[in-house]
């Protein structure tokens, strides 16, 4: 015979002002199986919890229903109280009388009646609850970090410095990412390379970090604490253990006119190359699509000059399998979206460039060694136009979101330009200036007031060439909306920050969710910003949303501390709200017929196959089995199971039907 205790909370006035809590408690006391019912002003407070604990002991309760707020708010609180009084915590349930009743209805008899109904449902449910125990999962204390930009570098260093092993995978030949391409950084104008390259060296030299460059994630299996990653090490065509990075091969390479990715297409590189002199590792790769030998079968100049005989034309891709406990995704962003505004003529006119290209022009390591010279004729531009929001915040033609970094880097570009070209004029066409951040607004004001950058609030409708100049036609919406025409020598587009072109593939490989713009989704936008909806996978940097360097580094450190926190324990404990396949005594074994529809339905790959064998070892039947470490308790398999062989612990069909029948 069940002995259920019902505890109705007033939540101050939150529930008490709308629902007659005393009447609810009295009604609950009359329900069959209820041995104790009481109401109290603040059930979550210490005296409130004591009411529950005392009742459990004195009335020998077999189940508890707390009629209060949402279980998201206080279920852990009340379950802990029950456990302290000796009741299995999973025998405690909450009826949500606040969000589901008092907050959404007017005061009145009907509202009180609804509260009684909600309590009655939960009483019927809790009668059928069974004691459950949390699931324990072992942890492999090694983290996989995907992406070697500043986000990945920061996360890898933080995890490694906490004393754990890290595998850092970068698909380019060097780590460094976009930050290595930048000239100076806002709002302090410190040199990007000067603050980044020491970190890159630290990564390479850290005893607990294994670095795989020119490598990509092939697949990821397993679950939190127990992932298995397969990494494809693309063939460098160079034996890294022999190469000393002397560069003789690069000097001799016959292909010298390949657009350099690092210089955003403004410089040239060879077919055997390191992306930039400060690369980590400083060992070349052969770009097989461009190499003369791979195209025509002849050349091998690099092999002839290599003093250590490190060139390996026959090297093949290598697959490495690594067990890891956690994954940090830090795969970054892309800025190539120039197609939103064909009327700006990017690609058509050499002197219309992107912000990233301007970074290379302004960088001391760039193709012009830091002098601002325009691509078409190498002249110093005397009039330069920056167009902010070249694609961002434009649902009609571009993307709907704000790329977040452009206001700041455009101010920085204009500032760098006026520092380098003293007689030059800089114009910025903008929609709004978004300069939220420490010292950000001050930075933009400095560009306007000290460096005399001309900010024009308005959009540019068209750019066309005339007499060696680029005519920029726009509008100044602040001065009676008059049309503006600027004869520019160079135009810089703040193109939108977009997700990596293969972000969707990666998300599917990792089984994590992503938004309509292919940015990866964090588990909760406010309260779980570095976790993803798949347990054990964390996110950092611009693969989640556009963000600048300080924010990226903060998120990376956040993700790293989550990983370190997880690794500080030897095993994980999690709620036992998982699906189970029923097992029956022989000769039935289980009602599962092995159709494995559940396998298709499961979004988390939690369904395994279990062979039932007789004493002689002969196979009797193959049935489904739920890996309780992986199962997220969504219940999709339960709904789909045709023989009703799967049930969700804590939310069994029996419990749910009992709730509904109580209505």
């Amino acid at each position: 015979m069940p002995r259920i205790g019902v505890f109705i909370c007033h939540c101050g006035e939150n529930i008490g002002a709308t629902v007659d809590c005393e009447v609810v408690a009295q009604a609950a006391g009359r329900l069959p199986g209820v041995a104790h019912a009481v109401d109290y002003k603040y059930m979550c407070s210490d005296p409130g919890q004591s009411l529950i604990k005392e009742a459990i002991r004195e009335k020998r309760l077999t189940g508890v229903v707390v009629g209060a707020c949402s279980p998201r708010m206080h279920e852990p609180t009340f379950r802990r109280a029950c456990a302290e009084a000796g009741l299995n915590p999973f025998l405690c349930e909450m009826a949500n009388l606040r969000e589901h009743c008092s907050w959404v209805h007017e005061k009145g008899e009907v509202t009180t009646q609804k509260a009684i109904d909600l309590v009655r449902m939960l009483v019927e449910k809790v009668k059928r609850n069974r004691p459950l125990t949390p699931i324990r999962v072992p942890i492999t204390k090694r983290a996989l970090v995907l992406g070697g930009g500043i986000a990945g570098i920061q996360a890898a260093l933080d995890i490694a410095n906490a004393g754990h092993k890290v595998v850092l995978v970068e698909r380019d030949p060097s780590i460094g990412g976009h930050m290595a391409q930048l000239s100076e950084t806002f709002p302090t104008l410190d040199c990007s390379q000067c603050i980044l390259t020491p970190r890159m060296v630290e990564v390479a030299q850290h005893p607990d970090i294994t670095l795989y460059t020119y490598s990509e994630l092939e697949s990821l299996d397993g679950f939190i604490g127990n992932f298995r990653a397969t990494i494809r090490k693309k063939a460098r065509s160079v034996d890294e253990s022999l190469c000393t990075g002397c560069g003789a091969c690069i000097q001799k390479c016959a292909q010298k006119k390949i657009p350099s990715e690092f210089n955003a297409g403004l410089g040239r590189r060879t077919a055997i190359y390191v992306p930039f002199p400060q690369a980590v590792p400083n060992k070349p790769v052969i770009d097989r699509a461009r190499c003369t030998y791979y195209k025509s079968g002849r050349c091998k100049l690099c092999e002839k000059v290599c003093p250590t005989k490190a060139i390996r034309f026959d090297q093949e891709d290598e697959l490495v399998t690594i067990d890891v406990g956690a994954v940090v995704v830090a795969t970054g962003y892309d800025v190539k979206a120039t197609s939103f505004f064909p009327e700006y003529g990017y690609g058509e006119y050499k002197d219309v460039i992107t912000g990233l290209q301007f970074e290379r022009l302004a960088s001391a390591s760039g193709p012009t060694l830091g002098e601002i010279r325009r691509p078409s004729d190498n002249e110093v531009p005397k009039k330069i136009v920056f167009i902010a929001c070249a694609g961002s915040r434009d649902p009609a033609k571009g993307i709907h979101y704000c790329s977040k970094i452009c206001c700041m880097y455009t101010a920085k570009h204009a500032m760098l330009y006026s520092h380098k070209v003293h007689d030059g004029e800089a114009y910025v066409f903008y929609m709004d200036i978004r300069a939220g951040g420490k010292m950000y607004e001050e930075f933009v004001r400095r560009a306007v007031e000290e460096d005399h950058v001309r900010y024009v609030r308005g959009r540019v409708s068209r750019i066309y060439p005339k007499n060696g100049k680029l005519i920029v036609k726009g509008v100044d919406t602040l001065l009676n909306s008059r049309p503006v025409e600027v004869e520019a020598d160079l135009v810089v587009l703040a193109t939108a920050m977009t997700a990596q072109p293969d972000a969707e593939d990666l998300a599917q490989k990792l089984k994590v969710s992503y938004d309509g713009d292919k940015f990866l989704n964090e588990a909760h936008p406010k309260l779980r910003p570095v976790e993803m909806n798949t347990a054990g996978i964390f996110v950092a940097g611009a693969c989640q949303a556009p963000k600048d360097i300080p924010e990226t580094v903060a998120q990376a450190s956040g993700a790293a501390s989550k990983v370190a926190g997880m690794f500080s324990r030897d095993e994980l404990s999690r709620e036992p709200v998982v699906a189970v396949v029923n097992r029956q005594p022989p000769p039935v074994w289980s009602t599962c017929v092995g159709c494995f529809l559940c396998e298709t339905a499961c979004a988390y790959q939690a369904i395994e196959r279990e062979e039932i064998r007789g004493r002689d070892g002969g196979l009797i039947r193959t049935i489904a089995k739920v890996n309780e470490s992986v199962c997220q308790g969504c219940g999709t398999c339960v709904a789909l199971c045709r023989s009703k062989s799967i049930d969700l612990q804590g939310y069994t069909n029996e419990q749910v039907y009992a709730e509904l029948l109580a209505l």
């Binding site: 058509e348 050499k350 078409s376 004729d377 009609a396 033609k397 068209r462 060439p465 060696g468 005519i471």
Partner: protein, 301 residues
Amino acid sequence: MRIGFFPGCSLEGSSREYLESIREVAAVLGIELAEIPDWNCCGATAAHTLNHRLALALPARTLALAEQAGLDEVVVPCSACYNRLAGTRHELLHDEALRQQITDIIEMNWHGATRVLNVLEWLNRVVGELPGHVSAPFGHRVACYYGCYLTRPKALAACRRIEDPTEMDDLVRAVGAEPIRWAYKVECCGAGLSVSRTESVARLSERIVSDAVERGAEAIVVACPMCHTNLDLRRDAILAAAPPGGRSRIAGIPVLYVTQVVGLAMGVSLRPLGLHRHHVPVRLSAAPPSVAPAAAGEGEE
């Protein structure tokens, strides 16, 4: 193949040559143009500046007639007519209450079954077939001028890249012409101010014609009667607005309808295409200049 057709007023008046050339091209392509029976005025600018419901009711009646006639699609060559018909269809399809009001006014049923096409959309469907019909490739550098109504507003635009459309360029390229890249393909010609403020139209249109000439175009190609009127019929006013030194350069550049260009390339002679009706005479040499005239000096072209 049979397709609905709405000539509108200008194609029966000042832009007869547009209609004539459309009929010639359709004949070569074996397309039957089924004129909407008893069609009426689209309302153009006059109606929608005065009364919103009148502006919707006029095109709605024509669309309802097309629907009654069982036409799935209607070709509407005039850009203003196109804008009114396509705009009305769009608005009524997205506002159930408004549709009820308008169908009450016109006392006809309307379901939105008939789609509206302009000439660019219509010919681009068969652009693959055009080279097969070409007997005299139109070997000239041309400036394709789209004007405003073909590209705006975005919901109705017949063109994919609204600020830098390429649909007309694709068409003329298919019949052997060489479309230039220029700066004024969607700038305003002054449109209906042609009558009331001719000097404004002259000022705006002068920039369009001058830029086309400066960048080496031998002809301007249009798909809108209003554009044609302003660039061709108003040429004297344009010349008056031009700087004195530049007048002779821009005096002679002819303005052709896209269907006239296609028709010429198909071997149709001048008169059936209505080329004799233009104000600026169409005198294009048979053999195009082998070297393109220097454009305005940009290295990028």
